[in-house]
């Protein structure tokens, strides 16, 4: 109809009433109509992730539910510059996009962001630091944790290649694959609970494609399989030290 709808869901924890529309309608609009109709580039932005005191309903990372739906794209920026470029790309993308914004960064992140419009390509992962011993993959607010863990790993003599996936579906298998073929090890980390999290898809895919290159099992450092707790949040989270331990274990394997 010519207009682009950009919807905001105040907290991703409250997106579920829209799940029917996103999965059964938006994701299938083009396909079911034989490409006669499409969503007109619908973008849904929603804050997600831990904030320190959010408990069950202000901290969720529901990206995995949406990654299971052919027809939509799932995009997650790690900071202000990426947020601008990826959001503009999502809006201009003719497919429906669910754009998860890490709320933790709203009051934390300060960066020089170009004033002009620019887009960052979707379905393209970004290699943030190059390395030779281990590939570390994540997205969103977790990137800062992974960055710290990789720095400390370097001090311990481990050279990590850190990659921000940015688009979860359709995801950039080629970049991850190329990296793992170089390093021989993979660690994936996300805040969402480990079971059925998107890390599982990456692990299975890379195990399939890079089996003979792997020198250790694919490692996942994720949230626990519990509702997101309030008082116990520090124990639930995939902290820098949990990641560091997993990096060392992978290299020692």
């Amino acid at each position: 109809m010519g207009n682009i709808a950009i919807a905001e869901i105040q907290f991703a924890d409250y997106i579920y009433p829209a799940f029917d529309q996103i999965v059964n309608e938006a994701a299938k609009f083009r396909y079911r109509s034989g490409n006669q109709f499409n969503c007109g580039g619908l973008t849904i932005r929603t804050p997600y992730g831990a904030v320190g005191h959010g408990g069950h309903y202000h901290s969720q990372s529901p990206e995995a539910f949406f990654c299971h739906v052919p027809g939509i794209k799932v995009v997650i920026p790690r900071g202000p510059s990426q947020a601008k470029g990826l959001l503009l790309a999502s809006i201009w993308d003719p497919n429906p996009v669910v754009f998860f914004e890490p709320k933790w960064l709203y009051r934390q992140a300060v960066e020089n962001v170009p004033e002009d419009d620019y887009i960052l390509p979707l379905s393209q992962a970004e290699v943030i630091c190059t390395g030779t011993d281990l590939t570390v993959v994540g997205w969103g607010a977790q990137m800062a944790i992974l960055h710290q863990a990789c720095s400390e790993g370097r001090q311990a003599g481990i050279s990590c290649e850190l990659i921000d996936l940015q688009t979860l579906i359709p995801w950039d298998k080629e970049t991850i694959e190329a990296s793992v073929k170089k390093t021989g090890r993979l660690l994936v980390s996300h805040e969402a609970p480990i079971t059925g999290g998107f890390g599982a898809e990456i692990a299975a895919s890379i195990a399939e494609r890079c089996f003979l290159h792997l020198e250790a099992p694919v490692s996942r450092v994720c949230g626990l399989d519990t509702p997101f707790p309030l008082v116990f949040e520090p124990y639930y989270m995939p902290t820098k030290n949990k990641v560091l331990e997993a990096i060392k274990a992978s290299v020692r394997f």
Binding site: D13, Y14, P17, H53, G54, G55, H56, Y57, H58, T195, L224, D225, T226, P227, P229, L230, V231, F232, P234, Y235, Y236, T239, N241, K242, E245
Partner: protein, 463 residues
Amino acid sequence: MGWRLPLRTALWTLRGKQPKATADMVRELSHRREVYSAVPCHLHIFPILKRLQSSEPERACSQNMDEEMNDFMGRKVSYSSQMCFIPEESTNSVPCYRLLSTHGDLLDPSSINELDKELCIEMYRKMVTLQVMDTIFYDAQRQGRISFYVTTIGEEAINIGSAAALNATDVVFSQYREPGVLMWRGFTLQQFANQCYGNEYDLGKGRQMPVHYGSNELNYLTVSSPIATQVPQAVGAAYGLKMDKKDACAVTYFGDGGTSEGDFHAGMNFAAVLGAPVLFICRNNGWAISTPTSEQFRSDGVAIKGQAYGVRSIRVDGNDALAVYFAVKNARKMAVEEFRPILIEALTYRVGHHSTSDDSSKYRSVDEIEYWRTRRDPVARLRMFLQSNRWWDDENEDLLRQDLRTQMMSVLHNAESKKKPGLSNLFEDVYDVIPQNLKEQEQETQAIVGKYPKDYPSDVPLD
């Protein structure tokens, strides 16, 4: 408790007066949206009235097929060659029931005889307690002592007035701005504080944010943040109570914003169809975070929505504790005795911010907030009523408030000094029995905590 119902009982008491409905009268009344129970001989002409009179479904059999009536929906619909659109709004809005003037004067002075002095005083004391508790917890959050808080300022009459009208066995499904109902039933200030601090005495075991209270013992379901999800749950519970022939109803509270949720629609419709004994109490406080009711719906508020579902409803002055009390009392009786849902729209104003994460001066005028806080305070209104009857005085007031502040300080200090629940509470109750993956994760967590203790809070025991 031996309460007598005031004369100003809902027009629905079938044992009361039943005027004969003439054609003119019915046209006049349905226009004004008031309905009387009609005498059976007029039923085939005025189908609306017949439906409201009894809970018995109509037998949809038309004897004479040549009569050309449409009777598929359990009621008879007649045809008309006069094209008539139901107007989007009525000339007059749904009237708002109140017993006290804004200054606490009984609008019908003779009804004083129907009031129980002790109950009125107790209601007032609890309203003051709620107000003081809220003020102190709000300040505690501002000082960083608790992480979050939601006040009920301005809505004390709805909380306490409705709670006082319910039975202890009525099951409550609240939103998050109804701690007064829990308070009325006996939840102590210490218990509220324990939940807000998430300490080892919190019944919720430190898992949720502050104000997410619950008490199985007091029949008050644990609060969850999502809006209106409690509504269909209350309907289901009410249906269960009906199946089990219990002398109890379910009660659900929600705000004006909650009525825009799909769950509200589903809940109302199910309740009506199933004949569930449930009270839908809407706190229409004018604001859904920053959305004013003028942007929430275009209907005449919420009470009007009841009829669309076949649910009897009433609009009440939510800042008049006595009106709320009597409306809920009557509603409960109808719900339980007639197996029907009732919708109550209580008009009020959200004096506080949406929560401690909100600054409402960003989207509404400070003057508006101040006006409602100082000139339309439900607590002050009941106080004026009590004092004008010499059931309360300034000395009682000062003593009560001073005592409450002292209690609250001690309660906060107490809650603050307690440990948090042990770490095992992170892994338990995900299911009734802990599964293998969580046992493993518990061990891994214990190991990492042992290795990096500085990453973790010192007040969480590791058992």
